[in-house]
Subunit: 417 residues, 2 copies
Amino acid sequence: MKYTKLFGKPSKNKFRDLESINAELLIQGGFIHQEMAGVYTWLPLGLKVLKKVENIIREELNKLEAQEILMPALQSKEKWLISGRWDNVDVLFKLPSQTDKEYALGATHEEIVTPLIAEYVKSYKDLPVAVYQIQTKFRDELRAKSGILRGREFGMNDLYSFHRNQEDFDAYYKKVQEAYFKIFARLNLDVKMVEASGGDFTKKYSHEFHVLTSAGEDDILACENCSFAQNIEIASLKDGDKCPKCGSVLRIAKGVEVANIFDLNTKFTDAFKVKYTDQDGSLKVPLMGCYGIGTTRLVGAIVESSHDEKGIIWPREVSPYDIHLISLASRDEKINNDILQKTDNLYQELIARGYSVFWDDRNKISAGEKLKVADLLGFSTRILLSEKTLVKNKVELIKRNEINAKMFDISQIIDNL
Amino acid sequence: MKYTKLFGKPSKNKFRDLESINAELLIQGGFIHQEMAGVYTWLPLGLKVLKKVENIIREELNKLEAQEILMPALQSKEKWLISGRWDNVDVLFKLPSQTDKEYALGATHEEIVTPLIAEYVKSYKDLPVAVYQIQTKFRDELRAKSGILRGREFGMNDLYSFHRNQEDFDAYYKKVQEAYFKIFARLNLDVKMVEASGGDFTKKYSHEFHVLTSAGEDDILACENCSFAQNIEIASLKDGDKCPKCGSVLRIAKGVEVANIFDLNTKFTDAFKVKYTDQDGSLKVPLMGCYGIGTTRLVGAIVESSHDEKGIIWPREVSPYDIHLISLASRDEKINNDILQKTDNLYQELIARGYSVFWDDRNKISAGEKLKVADLLGFSTRILLSEKTLVKNKVELIKRNEINAKMFDISQIIDNL
């Protein structure tokens, strides 16, 4: 992709009137566009990040033998009445229609997935089973805030698992925790898992996953040294106490909840009368767990925890483009043409080798301006060609998350990526 | 994927009470699950088809330098008032909220994309530009019918292009037509393009793309011989007339509209005051086109036009799995174990070579039952291993769309795919 062709170019104006860093940087960079409070369009650059995040989640969940499905946003009121949540979830959008039927607009999918399981799971041989989706959710928030951290329409990955017994459930619950930490590691996110009290579910236990950042809405009591953390709502300890795990000091910090997992036991499988025939011929109710990661929220959390005063620093695996190519102009037209020609050659060769490449191909734009845009956009790796580098037949390689540039022969740059 | 692990197994029961062949076969096969009238869950097998259809569209549109974005379903009432369509589109869902704000639930996206373009297109240098999305649409249909051909919630690919002048627009409009025919060819669909009168748009012209099938809702006057076709609503000719193009006979046939394209001229760019500075410094309003393909509807149209009395016949490019492996049981336990072992080896090798493979690994199931399921599911290529084939060290290769099986040495089957 060439800069001059990109739809959704970065803006020179800072959006400092916004209430959150993720919104400021993502909007200025041309990653997202705000349509209304809590509602965004994903522009080409932002959508690339979002899809990479989604695919990382897919890869890790597929390893758990979870199968991807796609459930609808339009949901039957009757099913929400059966679960008892039609009148209890205050953020549930209720949609009238010309057929006089009223729909719920999916804020979550227990009401859909549980009766679905009831139709396909009949025998103990069909268990355990886990299905997931990556889908758009709607929540009628009184106040949408914090950029893409809390929207009225947002992307989510929700996974649901069903089991014959507690032991099988517990093992899977543990596996999902591990998969989540693999996902967070690939996103370069430092995440704390905390025990939590939990919303409108009756359950044995639940866990939240928090990225510690000042943009967070939750108070987390976290050890300064080890992985110990508790949500302040249920914490038995307080700021300044000793960590029960390592003896270090506990401090209250702000956390963005990027995921949560619940042991639902038979709350929904009872309500929707899910029964399977066990090996001994008896009818039993499966145990259920649900596991959710906010996909759009993760993008926001990455920006909150990985930026500097110049712009975003995308982790390599979710950088919209692998390479940001920069050709600096020369006042000498012949030299300038040579720079453009060599950059174009490198551009084509990188693409032929399978890299995704973004080339700032603007002519007669200052080095300062091009570098400023590159810092704002924050793609993980940058290659710069200029009169100064090419006179030595070299190019400059800069990682967004490192300070020093390295010089390589232009013929050897690809092998050094 | 092994049959025994699949979530959403095919059913032995035919669903003959449904009103359409696509719903009957897709539901019986475990591709989709009906949640309510016009609302479906996409099960693992169906979602694979849908994603392949989406990716074919992506590939062909990316060649037109269209850029993918993702716009929201929640849309501002104010924008629909500006376009004058808030009270004029009878299928528009209107969503109340606890903040007293009322939303439109996206039935189409002209009201979102046009002001978006206004923010990013300022100069003639920013034109032409084309953006597209693959996204979920909502329509408050009085009667949802024909399976996934007309739903209340459905997948769509919508492309919008903006141009400096009619010549540039016309050239792009033509390019999109060609891209659409490439997409249909990859889906093995025989599609007629017809001139059409057009819905609620004021426009110079529009075209519809119809798959001719008895499940269609539209009457199309089509030449028996050549590509000439007209929508009966605007046709100047009638059934039995001579084709003006080739002299053959015109016949009325039923068509499923899988796509449509519109010359919107300045209808929306005027309404949303989109203006760019032209080369001569004057302010001008860009011309706009919109182009839509129903992604979920395409899946239904493929089933309508590509099935036989036994089940679906997926075109190779959208077959959920490349290979359907069938191991037939033997009553001799030793031979049976040998069959399972050899099938497992082939399964692993095919996957290692990059094929997606579905193995009907059920034990003690009759050949008749396994073949019946394979016919119903309709994956494009089938490999069968049995006592009879393995005694000769061979396997049977069957294409779903061909009559005769071919025998190959088990060691050479992969090279013959």
